[in-house]
C-alpha cells in the first residue's frame, strides 16, 4: 500500500501521544516544554498533510508557519518563566511548584 494521507495522520498521532506522555509524566519543566513542542509538531504534520492531500490550496502550510512562529514565542516566554521558577524554588521540578495544592 503506497503512502497516503492516513500514513501521515498515523505518524502525527504517534508523535502527539508521545508528546502527551512526556507532558504528563516528566517532572522537569524543560522536558515538559519539549513534550509540548512534540505535540505542536504533530499538529503541524496534520496541517501540512491536509494541505497536500485535500483541495485546500496552501492554507495548511500557512497555518503550519503560524504554529511554528507562535511556538517560538511560547518557548521564549516559557523558558523565561522556568528561569524565574528556578530563582524562586532552586528547582525546576514541576511537582514542587504546587502552591495551589488543595
Amino acid at each position: 500500500m503506497s503512502v497516503g494521507l492516513n500514513h501521515y495522520l498515523f505518524l502525527a498521532a504517534v508523535l502527539f501521544v508521545l508528546g502527551l506522555y512526556a507532558v504528563i509524566t516528566k517532572k522537569n519543566a524543560v522536558t515538559v516544554l519539549m513534550g509540548i513542542e512534540l505535540i505542536l509538531n504533530a499538529a503541524n504534520i496534520n496541517f501540512v498533510a491536509f494541505s497536500r492531500y485535500t483541495d485546500t490550496d496552501m492554507d495548511g502550510q500557512v497555518f503550519a508557519i503560524f504554529v511554528i512562529v507562535t511556538a517560538a514565542a511560547a518557548a521564549a516566554v516559557a523558558l523565561a518563566i522556568v528561569l524565574n521558577l528556578y530563582e524562586r524554588l532552586k528547582s525546576i521540578n514541576l511537582d514542587e511548584a504546587d502552591s495551589l495544592s488543595g
Binding site: 507532558v23 504528563i24 509524566t25 516528566k26 515538559v32 514541576l94 511537582d95 511548584a97 504546587d98 488543595g102
Partner: protein, 661 residues
Amino acid sequence: MITSAILILLLPLVAFIIQIFVGKRLPRKGDWVSTGAMFAALALSVGIFIDAVAQYEPNNVLATATWDWINFGPVHVTFGFLIDNLTAFMLVVVTLVSSLVHLYSIGYMHGDPRYNRYFAYLSLFSFSMLGLVLVDNLFGIYIFWELVGLSSYLLIGFWFEKDSAANASKKAFITNRVGDVGMFAGIMILFSITGTFSFNEVFAAVADGHVGGTLLTVAGILLFFGAIGKSAQFPLHVWLPDAMEGPTPVSALIHAATMVAAGVYMVGRTFVLYTPDALLFIAYIGTITAFIAATIAIVQMDIKRVLAYSTISQLGYMMVGLGTGGYTAGLFHLTTHAFFKALLFLGSGSVIHAVHTQEMDEMGGLRKKMPITFWTFLIATLSISGVFPLSGFWSKDAILASALGFGMTHPAHMPIFVVLLLSAGVTAFYMFRIVFLTFTGEPRDKKKYDHAHESPLTMTIPLVVLAVLSVGTIWWGWVEHMLVKPELASYGSHVASAVEHAAEEHGVAHSAHTIAMFSSVVVATLGILLSAVVYFWRKISADAWAEKLKPIHTFLWNKYYFDELYAATIIRVTLFKSRLFAAFDLKIIDGIVNGTGRLTAAFSRLQGSIDLRGVDGAVNFVARFVGYLGSQLRGLQTGNIQAYIMMALFAVVLLFVFQQF
C-alpha cells in the same frame, strides 16, 4: 503639484521630529528649523495658489492623488490628497498666519526654558492643520482633527506648572472629545451606507440619492457636532476662553486664526452633505453663539478673554453664513477673520509683553509708548467692527446679506438677521472698548506704564504684514469667484423641508445686499460712538451703569453661568453615577461575596456539627465515610498541573469509550 503638497505636509513634520529629538542641541535651540520650514511651506503654498488663480475655474479640482491604505475583504479604505480652490485658499491662510506666528514667537518666547519644545509643538500643529486641509476623505480629516486637538492641548498646557493652564488644557481636550464623538458617529453613518470615506464618492452617493432623508440630516448634524466642539460653538464654547492660558502667539494661531476655523472649513468642505434641515440647525447654533459670546465680551476685563469671546462670536457668524446658504460668505469671513483676529491677538500679546499683565484695568495710554502696536491694532479693530473699506466690512456684510436674504424668503427665520445685526453693533462696541481702555486715557498703573516699551522687530513685522492683509479693499471681488458654492444635491421630494436657499435667487440677494450693507454700517457706527462716549470722552460712567443693571451685569460677568451649569448638571451627574456604581460594588457585590462566605462558613459549621456527632458515636460509619471521601477528593487537588491534564484526558478516553460501546 502633489509633490509640493506632500512637501508642504512633510516640512513641518520633519521640523517637529528634529525639534523634539535634537532641538535642544541646535544653535538658537533650533527656532530657525521650524520657522524656516514654515516659510518654505508658505512659498510652496503660494505657488499652488498662483496655479489655482492661473487655471481659474469655479470649483476647479487642481490635483488629486490616492493611495490604498487599508485593504482587507470588502473594506477598502484609501488615503489621498485633494487640491481645489478651497484647499489652495486655506493652504495660504494657514501657512501665512503660521509662519508669521513662528516669527513673532521668536521674540515673544525668548528665554523660555522649553523654547525648543514650544517650536516643536507649533510645527506639529502646522503639520496637523495642513493635513486637515489637504486630505481627501472623512477618515483623514478625523485623524488630523484629533491631531490638531492634541497639539492644541499640548500648547494650552505649555506652562503646565500653572494649575490654571493644566486645567484649561484638560478642559479643552475633554470638551472637544464630546463633539468628536458626534462627528465620529456621523462619519460612521456615512461610511456604513456608502462604504467609503472619500469625499468625492460620498458626495456622489448623495447626489445619486443613495443617501438622503432623515438619516442624512442626522449624519450632517452629527458631523456638525465636531465643528461645535472645535469651533467653540454654543453649547461647547466654554473651553476657548480658558484656552487663553496658553502663550499668546498660540492663541493667535490656534485659537483664533486656524484651528477653531477648522470646524468652519470642515462644514464648508462637506457642504453638499447638509440637508436644509441640517443647515437650519447650523444657522441657529451660529446665531445663538454669536449673540451670547458678544454680550459676554462686553463686561470681561481680561484683554485676551475679550478677544476669545469675540472669536467665538465671529465663528458663530461664519456658521450662520454657511447655514443660511452663504457658502462663499462664511469661508470668506474665515479668511479675513484669520488675518485680523491673528493681528488682534498678536497685538494684545505685544501689549502683554510690554506691561506683563492681561487686565485692562492696569493699562491705559499706551498709544505713545507703542505706536506700531497701536496703529495695527486699530486697523484690526476697525476691520472686525465692519468699517468700510476694511476686509471685515466685506465679509461680515456678505454674511449679513446672506442671513437677510434667507430671512426675506422665509420670514419666520428673520430673527437670525436681527440678532446678527445687533451682535455686530455689540462687536463694534466691545472692540473699541479694548482700544480705548488699553491705548488711550491716563495710565492707570504708573509703574507698569513706565516700564512699557515697543516690542522687538520680530514681533512688529508680523503685525505690520497682518495689518496690510486686513486692509484689503480688493478682496471681495475675486474671492467670490474663487470660492463658488458647490452644486447642491437634489434632495428629493420626500425630504420634508420648508427651507429653500435664498442666496440663489438673484433679485432677493441684491436687495438684501444693499440693505445689509447700510444697516451694518449704521450699527457699527452706533457701536463705536457709544463706546467712545463711555470709554473715551467718559460722558457716561460704565461703573454706574453696571451698578444700575446689576443683575444683567452679574449674569454676563459669570458668562451666562455655563461653567456652573455644567458643573451642576453633567459633572454632578457623572460623579453621582460613579458614586452610585461604587456603592453598588461595595454594598451589593461585596454583599453577595460576603453572603456566600458566610453561607459557606455556616455550612462548614453544620458539617462540623455532623462530624462532632459522628465522633460522639451516633453515626460513626457515615462520619468515617465522609472523612474518607473528603481526603480522597483532597488528593485530587494536588496543585500539580500534570495530574490535572491526565485527569482531563482520562475523562476524554472514558467519554469516547462510552460513546462507542
